[in-house]
C-alpha cells in the first residue's frame, strides 16, 4: 500500500489578534496511488499551497489524517521531496554540492554520492555544471538543480509548489517536458500545484480544481494529455480541440469562482 491517502482533512487558521477563524481547507479526501501524476489548480486563496505544506509536513491539519505507505505523516521527511517556486537553492554551494546536500545529511559515502550526483545532473541536463555556483545559473537551470537535489534522495512522493511559475514561456515548456520524462522514467508519485490551466492539463493524469471559502476539491478530471505528452510534442497537444475544450471549461469555472469572491467582497 504505497499510496498517499488524505481523509477528511480540515485546516482552520485563526488570527491571534482578531480571533477571526478562516477555513483554509475543509473535508479534503483523496487517494494518490504510486506513480500517479496529480496537478492541483484553483484561484488564489483556495488552499492549494496549504494542502501541499500539510502533505510535506510543514503544517499540522486541524483535523483529519494523512498517511503515506500506511504511516501517518508527522513532520517533514525525505520520502516527501519538495520543489519550490524559486528553487530555494543554497547559494553558498556549487551545483553538485546542492544536489549532494541530502546525501551529505545522510552521511552517504563520498564515492557513492559522487556517482549519484553525476547521474542525476546528467538526467536533468546539467552535466559539466557541477562546479558552477548556483547564483550564476538561469532560472530554468536553477529549477533543474532543485529537481536533481530532490530526486537524488529517492523520495516516494515529489511535491512541487508552482515549480515553473517564475520561468519564461519557452523555458517553461522545456521544463514541462522534463518533468513528464522524469515522471515516466522514475515512476514517482508527483503532486504539482500550479496557477496555469494549460500546465495543469499537461502535467496531470488527474487534475483537482479547488474552490475557495472553504478550500475544497470542486471537481476532479482524469486526463490523457500527460500520457500523450510523452510521445507528442506539447505544442501539438495544446492545439488539439479536446485540450481546448477542457481548458475552456476549467477557465470559465475558475472565472466564475473569482467573480464570486469579488462579488462577495
Amino acid at each position: 500500500m504505497s499510496d498517499l491517502i488524505c481523509k477528511n482533512l480540515c485546516m482552520t487558521f485563526s488570527n491571534a489578534q482578531t480571533g477571526v477563524k478562516v477555513e483554509a481547507l475543509k473535508d479534503i479526501n483523496f487517494t494518490l496511488k504510486k506513480g500517479e501524476l496529480l496537478s492541483v489548480l484553483g484561484p488564489s486563496g483556495c488552499g492549494k499551497t496549504t494542502l501541499l505544506n500539510m502533505i510535506a509536513g510543514f503544517l499540522n491539519p486541524t483535523s483529519g489524517s494523512m498517511t503515506l505507505n500506511s504511516t501517518k505523516i508527522d513532520g517533514p521527511s525525505v520520502e516527501r521531496g519538495m520543489v519550490f517556486q524559486q528553487g530555494a537553492l543554497f547559494e553558498w554551494l556549487t551545483v553538485s554540492k546542492n544536489v549532494d546536500f541530502g546525501l551529505r545529511m545522510k552521511k552517504t559515502s563520498q564515492g557513492e554520492s559522487d556517482s549519484l550526483v553525476e547521474k542525476w545532473l546528467e538526467i536533468v541536463g546539467l552535466q559539466g555544471f557541477g562546479n558552477t555556483p548556483t547564483y550564476q545559473l538561469s532560472g530554468g537551470m536553477q529549477q533543474r538543480v532543485a529537481l536533481a537535489r530532490c530526486l537524488v534522495n529517492d523520495p516516494d512522493v515529489i511535491l512541487m509548489d508552482e515549480p515553473l511559475g517564475a520561468l519564461d514561456a519557452l523555458t517553461r515548456e522545456k521544463m514541462q517536458s522534463l518533468i513528464l520524462e522524469l515522471w515516466k522514467e522514475t515512476g514517482k508519485t508527483i503532486l504539482i500545484i500550479t496557477h496555469s490551466v494549460e500546465e495543469a492539463l499537461l502535467l496531470g493524469e488527474r487534475l483537482f480544481v479547488m474552490a475557495p471559502r472553504p478550500g475544497r476539491i470542486h471537481k476532479e478530471y482524469k486526463l490523457p494529455f500527460a500520457e500523450q505528452g510523452l510521445q507528442t510534442p506539447l505544442r501539438d497537444i495544446k492545439q488539439s480541440p479536446q485540450f481546448s475544450e477542457v481548458r475552456e471549461e476549467i477557465l470559465s469555472m475558475i472565472w466564475d469562482m473569482e467573480e464570486e469572491i469579488m462579488g462577495g467582497a
Binding site: G57, F58, P76, A88, F90, E91, P133, Y135, R149, N153
Partner: protein, 642 residues
C-alpha cells in the same frame, strides 16, 4: 645615512615638492584628456562613470600633500631655509620693543594712559555709588569718599602737561632719539655683517627639538639681532620711566596715611565678623584703585607723541629692512609668523600645529627604531617589534590561580624546625603563578602591537560568544526575548561612557581595555548574527527539512552560511568601532598603546608626535578595512545574489 637624511630634510622636501607639482599638473592633464573622450561613451548619471580614474586619485593625493607642505611651512623651509632664522631675528626686535609699543596706540586703539583713566574712573564711580551703609561711622565715610576724590585729583594732575617733571620729559626725548638712531641703522647696508661661527654651527631649522635656533646665520639676521639688543635696552629704560610730579606727590602721601589709619581702625574696635569683613572688603577696593594710579604711569596726552612717531618710523624701517623676506613670508609662510621665547624661536599658526611632512616621517622613523638604548621607541617601549617573553608568563596568564585551590589536599605548612618543604600543591601553584623558568619564546611587542593585541583578543571573544548567541536569538523565541533587553540596554550607551566604570573594575591594563572592547564587539556581533540568521528564507529551511537534515545540520549547513555575509559585515564594523574606542580608552589610562602616545604628546604639545599617531591610526584602520573587504569578497562571493 639616516643622519644625513635628517640634516638635509629641507633639500629632500624641495625635491619631493617638485615631484608632487609635476605629478599634480600631469595627472590633471591626463584626467582632462580622458574626460573629453569618455564623456561620449557614457551619459551623465551612468554609475559606470565612477569606474577607474587613477589619475584623479593621483592628483588628489598630490594636491593634499602639497597643501600639507604649504600650510606646514614645508615649502618655505625647503626653498628658503634661512627665512625662519631671519624671521626669528625680526621677532627678537618685535619682542624687545613690545613694552614701548604697549604704552602707545599701535597694536591697540588708545594710549595705555587713556585706557587706565577710563577704566579706573568707571570703577571709582561704582565704588562711590555702592558705599555700604551702617558699616562705617560718619567720619570714616567722609574719609573714604575723600580718598576717592583724591584718586580723581591724581588723574587730573598726571594728565596736565604743566605738572610733568622735566626729568621725565627729557627721558622720553632720550628714548625717542635713540630709537631714531636705530631707525637710521636699519636703513644702512648690512651686507658687511658676518654671522658668528657659533651661529653657523647651530642645527638646521627643525632638525632638533629646538625648532629655530636663536643666533643669526645671515648678515640680515645679524643686523636685526644687533638692533634687538639695543631696543631691549631702550625698553628697559622706558619701563623705569615715571611721570613724577611734585603736586601729585603730596596728595599721594596724605592719602597713603589715610588708608593706613582706616586699616588700623579695623583692628581696634570690637565689631561683628560680618561688619569687619565688609569694611575690609571696601577699604581694599578703594586702596587697589589708588595704588594703580599713584605709580606715575599716566602721562599727559601729548607727552608720548614724539615717542609714538619714532616707534612708527622704526617699525616701518623694520619692514623695509626685511626686504625680500616680506615676499617669502607673504607667499610661502602662511600663518602668524615666528615668536621668540627664551631658548628658541617657535613657529606660530599652522606652522606650529601642522608639522612638516618630512618632520613627521623623521619622527616616525625615530619612534620606529627598535633600539631603546639609542633613543628609539617611546617611553621605554618600541613602536612595533618583537621581544623574548617567558613561557611561564604565558602559562600564568592562561591558568587562573584558583584552579589549583580547587585541587584536593592542603598547601604546605612550615615545620617545627622552621623549615618549609613545598608539597605538590605548592609546586603547582608556583607553576600557575609563573614562578618557574620554562624557557622563552619570541613574541611581538611594542605600542602598535599592544593596541592590535587588545583589539584582536576582544574581537575574537566577541565573535566566539556573540555569533552563537546572535544566531540562537535569530531562530529561538526564548533566546530572542530573554537576551534582547540586556543587549539593547547596554548597546546604545557610547562605549566611552562605560570606560570609567570598566577601567575601575578591571584595571587600567589590558584586562579593562579588552573587556571594554569586548562589550563593543559582542553587541555588534550578536546583532549582525541575529539579523543574518533571522533573514534565512523559509523555503530554504523547509527544503533542507525535506532533504532530511536534522535541526543541528540545518543550523550548521544552512543558517550559519546564510548568516555569514551579515557576520562578516558585523566584524568589519566591529573592528572599526573597537579601534576607535581603544584609542580613546588608551588616552584615558594606561602605559602603552597608540592612544597612550598621543595622550602624552598632547600634554607636552608635541604636534609632530600627535600627527604621527594620527597617521598610524588612520593607516592601520584603513588596512583593517581593506583586509576585511578582501576577506568578504573572497569568502562570500554569493552575497546579495541568493
Amino acid at each position: 645615512m639616516l643622519d644625513w637624511l635628517s640634516q638635509e630634510r629641507a633639500f629632500i622636501a624641495s625635491v619631493i615638492i617638485v615631484i608632487l607639482l609635476i605629478t599634480l599638473l600631469w595627472s590633471i592633464l591626463v584626467g582632462l584628456r580622458q574626460a573629453t573622450y569618455r564623456a561620449k561613451d557614457q551619459v551623465f548619471g551612468d554609475p559606470e562613470r565612477t569606474l577607474g580614474g587613477w589619475y584623479w586619485t593621483l592628483s588628489g593625493v598630490s594636491a593634499i600633500l602639497l597643501l600639507w607642505f604649504y600650510f606646514s611651512w614645508g615649502v618655505g623651509r625647503a626653498f628658503f631655509p634661512e627665512a625662519g632664522n631671519e624671521m626669528c631675528q625680526v621677532a627678537k626686535v618685535e619682542t624687545a620693543i613690545a613694552p614701548i609699543k604697549a604704552a602707545l596706540p599701535i597694536d591697540s586703539r588708545y594710549f595705555k594712559s587713556t585706557e587706565l583713566i577710563v577704566r579706573n574712573t568707571e570703577q571709582l564711580d561704582v565704588l562711590e555709588s555702592n558705599f555700604p551703609e551702617g558699616v562705617f561711622s560718619e567720619t570714616e565715610k567722609e574719609e573714604l569718599l575723600n580718598i576717592i576724590v583724591s584718586s580723581r585729583k591724581i588723574i587730573g594732575i598726571f594728565s596736565d602737561q604743566d605738572n610733568q617733571s622735566l626729568e621725565s620729559k627729557l627721558a622720553i626725548r632720550d628714548i625717542s632719539q635713540d630709537l631714531d638712531e636705530l631707525t637710521d641703522k636699519l636703513s644702512k647696508d648690512y651686507t658687511k655683517f658676518n654671522p658668528s661661527s657659533e651661529g653657523l654651527l647651530q642645527p638646521n631649522w627643525g632638525t632638533t627639538r629646538i625648532e629655530l635656533p636663536l643666533l643669526p646665520i645671515t648678515p640680515k639676521g645679524v643686523l636685526f639681532d644687533d638692533i634687538s639688543k639695543h631696543a631691549e635696552v631702550l625698553s628697559q629704560k622706558f619701563l623705569k620711566l615715571r611721570n613724577n610730579s611734585a603736586a601729585a606727590n603730596s596728595i599721594i602721601e596724605a592719602t597713603k596715611q589715610q588708608i593706613k589709619r582706616l586699616k588700623l581702625s579695623n583692628e581696634a574696635a570690637d565689631r561683628s565678623d560680618e561688619v569687619l569683613k565688609e569694611r575690609k572688603h571696601y577699604i581694599k577696593a578703594v586702596e587697589r584703585i589708588f595704588r594703580r594710579l599713584d605709580d606715575g604711569t599716566i602721562f599727559p596726552p601729548q607727552a608720548l607723541d614724539e615717542l609714538n612717531d619714532s616707534i612708527k618710523d622704526f617699525l616701518r624701517a623694520i619692514e623695509g629692512a626685511k626686504g625680500n623676506l616680506r615676499l617669502v613670508q607673504a607667499f610661502f609662510i602662511p600663518g602668524a609668523g615666528v615668536v621668540k621665547s627664551k631658548t628658541q624661536c617657535t613657529e606660530q599658526g599652522s606652522g606650529r600645529w601642522l608639522p612638516k611632512p618630512t618632520d613627521v616621517v623623521a619622527k616616525f622613523l625615530l619612534l620606529a627604531n627598535p633600539n631603546l638604548e639609542n633613543g628609539g621607541g617611546y617611553k621605554g617601549t618600541t613602536l612595533f617589534w618583537w621581544d623574548w617573553i617567558e613561557i611561564a608568563d604565558l602559562v600564568s596568564f592562561l591558568i587562573p590561580d584558583f584552579l589549583i585551590d580547587l585541587l584536593p589536599g592542603d598547601y604546605g605548612v612550615h615545620s617545627e624546625q622552621g623549615l618549609f618543604v613545598p608539597n605538590y600543591k605548592d609546586k603547582l601553584q608556583a607553576f600557575a603563578q609563573g614562578d618557574v623558568y620554562l624557557g622563552v619564546i619570541p613574541m611581538l611587542d611594542g605600542h602598535i602591537w599592544d593596541s592590535l593585541f587588545r583589539v584582536l583578543v576582544a574581537l575574537a571573544l566577541g565573535i566566539f560568544l556573540g555569533v552563537p548567541l546572535g544566531i540562537y536569538m535569530g531562530i529561538s523565541r526564548f533566546f530572542k526575548s530573554f537576551f534582547d533587553p540586556i543587549i539593547e540596554l547596554y548597546r546604545p550607551v557610547p562605549p566611552l561612557a562605560w570606560a570609567p566604570l570598566i577601567l575601575t573594575i578591571f584595571g587600567i591594563q589590558d584586562d579593562g581595555k579588552i573587556f571594554l572592547l569586548f562589550m563593543v564587539a559582542f553587541a555588534i556581533m550578536v546583532i549582525s548574527a541575529r539579523t543574518g540568521a533571522s533573514g534565512t528564507q523559509l523555503s530554504k529551511i523547509r527544503a533542507s527539512h525535506s532533504l532530511g537534515a536534522s535541526n543541528r545540520q540545518i543550523l550548521r549547513y544552512v543558517i550559519l552560511p546564510n548568516a555569514l555575509p551579515e557576520i562578516l559585515t558585523g566584524i568589519r564594523i566591529a573592528i572599526g568601532v573597537c579601534w576607535g574606542t581603544l584609542v580613546a580608552a588608551e588616552m584615558l589610562a594606561g602605559t602603552t598603546g597608540i592612544g597612550f602616545i598621543e595622550n602624552v604628546a598632547r600634554t607636552v604639545s608635541d604636534y609632530e608626535l600627535i600627527w604621527v599617531t594620527i597617521l598610524i591610526m588612520g593607516l592601520l584602520g584603513l588596512a583593517f578595512d581593506l583586509l576585511m573587504r578582501l576577506i568578504i569578497s573572497r569568502t562570500i562571493p554569493w552575497r546579495g545574489k541568493g
